[in-house]
């Protein structure tokens, strides 16, 4: 297929944009193999050595292995709880035709208006009062609460696109309400569920402020976002080690993003055919 010259500006812009996105990624990766002197003296030059020394130092000194496990635990359980709560909630709101349903939907939407910082102190007080301060458990309960507005709003929109005839057919076959959710709505909402999973995974994994304050600095509990800044020092930071540590913490994000993005695309296509 041949494209005319009119495509040229679009190609140039697209490639320029892609290059623009690659620059910080390259800088991060290249810096992970350099010393401070090399990073500051020639930031965009290729590294002179491909030694993994900085990675080893970052991994050991910040105990990143355990921190990744903690982050994975908090993120996985938070995601499970988010879905367990958001799917039924969205199902109920999407099927509701009354004023109460509309009101509940608006209440969920209001959650977007709460600024992160504004909730920090009340959340801290809640954690202290419940005896869950300095635990990962509190974050597992708290993160889904912060994710509910977005998750429910997204899923409601997906569920509303499902024809009522599908539910009616299932009812005729003897399906209960739970059966309808399980066998009709959930499979057909996989694109939405994948989207919710992906967005929330990124949010949960990268969460810093609440994890710092609530979970705290205990190496046996702290998440990777709390462990990473310990590589930074007011009296002299080794940026090679810091960027190497950052790259290590990005690997799980990259892996999950790649997997879920494919699933999301597959689900979108298959959903379109089914519908």
């Amino acid at each position: 297929m041949k494209h005319g010259k009119s495509w040229l500006p679009a190609h140039i812009l697209a490639w320029a944009y892609a290059a623009l996105l690659l620059v910080p990624l390259y800088y991060l990766l290249a810096s992970a193999f350099k010393t401070n002197e090399e990073i500051f003296a020639s930031p965009f030059s290729l590294p002179t050595s491909l030694s993994f020394g900085n990675f080893g130092t970052a991994f050991e000194s910040a105990d990143l292995g355990l921190a990744v496990v903690n982050s994975a635990l908090v993120t996985a359980f938070s995601l499970a709880l988010t879905l367990a709560l958001a799917i039924p909630a969205a199902f109920a709101v999407a099927r509701s035709t009354g004023r109460l349903g509309a009101f509940v939907e608006k209440v969920f939407s209001l959650g977007f208006l709460i600024p992160t910082f504004a909730a920090l102190f009340p959340t801290f007080l809640l954690a202290a009062a419940t005896g869950l301060f300095h635990t990962r458990m509190f974050m597992v309960l708290f993160l889904p609460a912060t994710a509910m507005p977005l998750s429910v709003v997204i899923l409601v929109q997906f569920m509303r696109t499902i024809p009522k005839e599908m539910e009616e057919a299932a009812r005729i076959d003897g399906a209960s309400t739970f059966g309808v959710l399980r066998h009709v709505y959930t499979p057909m909402c996989m694109p939405g569920i994948a989207t919710v999973l992906l967005l929330n995974f990124l949010t949960f994994w990268n969460e810093y402020l609440y994890s710092l304050v609530i979970i705290g600095p205990d190496p046996s509990q702290r998440t990777v976002q709390v462990a990473l800044p310990t590589l930074k020092s007011l009296t002299g930071t080794d940026y090679g080690v810091l960027t190497a540590g950052t790259v290590l913490t990005l690997v799980p994000v990259w892996a999950v993003y790649t997997v879920l993005q494919k699933r999301m695309q597959q689900a979108l296509v298959s959903g379109a055919v089914k519908m």
Binding site: A62, M137, S176, P217, T230, S233, G236
Partner: protein, 433 residues
């Protein structure tokens, strides 16, 4: 679609699903639920520190901790590490009454208020009861004692803060001697610039710039006057402060500082000096310890050049004894036996010697050991009376003014900013406090 679950069953199943996702997590997520402080394990001493990863002195500290554990098999020690956010994390832990037992941090910014608000305790009595007072330099005890006579923490790390001169670069530019006056410094800066070398590199956008600015302002101030000025923030009301700021702007506009110094940070400062891109820096011991050998061989340490009529007889350096101290928390007072063992161990001469020799740290404790593997640190330790000492303003600046002062510092390092404008932004930083 054979499910025949009723609405009630559906609700039950939903609840069960939610519980099923959460319950298996409980042991894993809440097993090590607290910081194992006073309210949990009485045999565990929890220490909160900035040492433990890549901060200077961390390897020695971790190794010393292991030695302490070996010597005290019945006592567990948990080391919690935070970087710049340590104070914030400690304060929230304290609010929840789950703070660690001992905190290792400097006396600066937020920590200045800790003793006053009861976040940590007065350690004066413990210092005497445990017989550790004789181990501490008297000047360090003074620095850690507040206006009400309370000893805020057990002093530990100190630092010399001299000016490092790369003599090879100076000679290559035709400067034969280290400048000791402002005129000599301006002349040296012109010659260095002609050779394409940055003269004085400084983090004009962070604490390093703030300290150097404070040091230069003190050129015409006695220690008592300096204390008064930095406590009140009245830079216009002090003739010496006014003259010091005029001296600073004269040096700045004569090109003494590296280009765009107002945007540089401590990291760019040390990198410019360590790569030979700049000839002069004002550097604390931890930065001097990191100067590479090839640069250190041609580096001398001294003081900041003076102006005619200065209040000091010799070029000035900064010294502080408040870099790191051991603070005891209210939780720590419930485990005094463990805390005492830990403090006695950290104050032991062999432990102190390790920090000096292995990490090149300056100590606030009595020790004759020199940092032989860190020649510039050792040189700075030997400066003694060859230099005059300017006051480190950290203890006198109100905590709330600390960050605004750093912003004001960046304005001060911007070329063309008049002395009156510099005074104005510095005073504005105090007014926001």
């Amino acid at each position: 679609m054979r499910s025949t679950m009723s609405r009630r069953g559906f609700l039950a199943a939903g609840s069960g699903l939610a519980a099923a996702t959460a319950l298996p997590a409980l042991p894993a997520l809440a097993g090590c639920s607290t910081l194992a402080s006073a309210d949990s394990d009485p045999d565990t001493l929890v220490v909160h520190s900035q040492l433990g990863t890549t901060a200077p002195g961390s390897p020695t500290y971790l190794s010393a901790l292991n030695t302490f554990r070996d010597e005290n098999p019945g006592l567990k020690v948990k080391n919690l590490v935070n970087g710049d956010d340590l104070a914030q994390v400690y304060e929230t832990s304290r609010l929840a009454r789950k703070e660690p037992d001992v905190v290792m941090v400097n006396l600066y910014d937020k920590t200045l208020a800790w003793t006053d608000v009861g976040a940590t305790v007065d350690v004066k009595g413990y210092m005497d009861d445990w017989g550790l007072r004789k181990r501490v330099l008297p000047v360090a005890l003074d620095a850690w004692t507040d206006g009400k006579g309370r000893l805020r923490a057990f002093p530990y790390f100190a630092t010399n803060w001299p000016v490092a001169y790369n003599t090879a670069l100076l000679e290559s530019a035709g400067v034969d001697a280290i400048p000791t006056t402002g005129d000599q410094l301006i002349s040296a800066a012109r010659k260095l610039r002609a050779k394409g070398i940055a003269p004085v590199t400084v983090g004009g956008n962070d604490w390093t710039g703030q300290k150097l600015l404070a040091q230069i302002i003190q050129t015409f101030l006695t220690p008592d006057e300096a204390r008064k000025v930095f406590t009140s923030g009245d830079f216009s009301g002090s003739r010496g402060a006014r003259e010091g700021i005029e001296y600073f702007t004269a040096l700045r506009d004569a090109g003494v500082f590296a280009d765009k110094a107002q945007g540089l940070t401590s990291d760019t400062m040390t990198t410019q000096f360590n790569t030979g891109a700049a000839a002069i820096q004002s550097a604390m011991s931890s930065a001097l310890a990191k100067v590479p050998d090839k640069i250190a061989r041609h580096t001398d340490v001294g003081g900041w050049p003076l102006a005619p009529g200065a209040a000091h007889a010799k070029p000035t350096i900064l010294r502080t004894y408040t870099l790191i101290g051991f603070w005891i928390s209210p939780n720590g007072t419930k485990k005094l036996d463990s805390v005492e063992k830990f403090l006695r161990f950290m104050y032991r001469p062999d432990t102190v010697t390790r920090f000096v020799k292995e990490s090149g740290r300056d100590m606030a404790l009595r020790s004759d050991t020199l940092s032989t593997d860190f020649p510039l640190v050792a040189e700075a330790q030997k400066l003694g009376d060859d230099v005059s000492e300017a006051l480190l303003p950290d203890v006198y600046v109100p905590p709330a003014a600390t960050q605004p002062l750093i912003t004001a510092t960046s304005t001060a390092f911007t070329r063309g900013t008049s002395p009156a404008r510099v005074r104005s932004v510095l005073e504005a930083a105090y007014r926001t406090a």
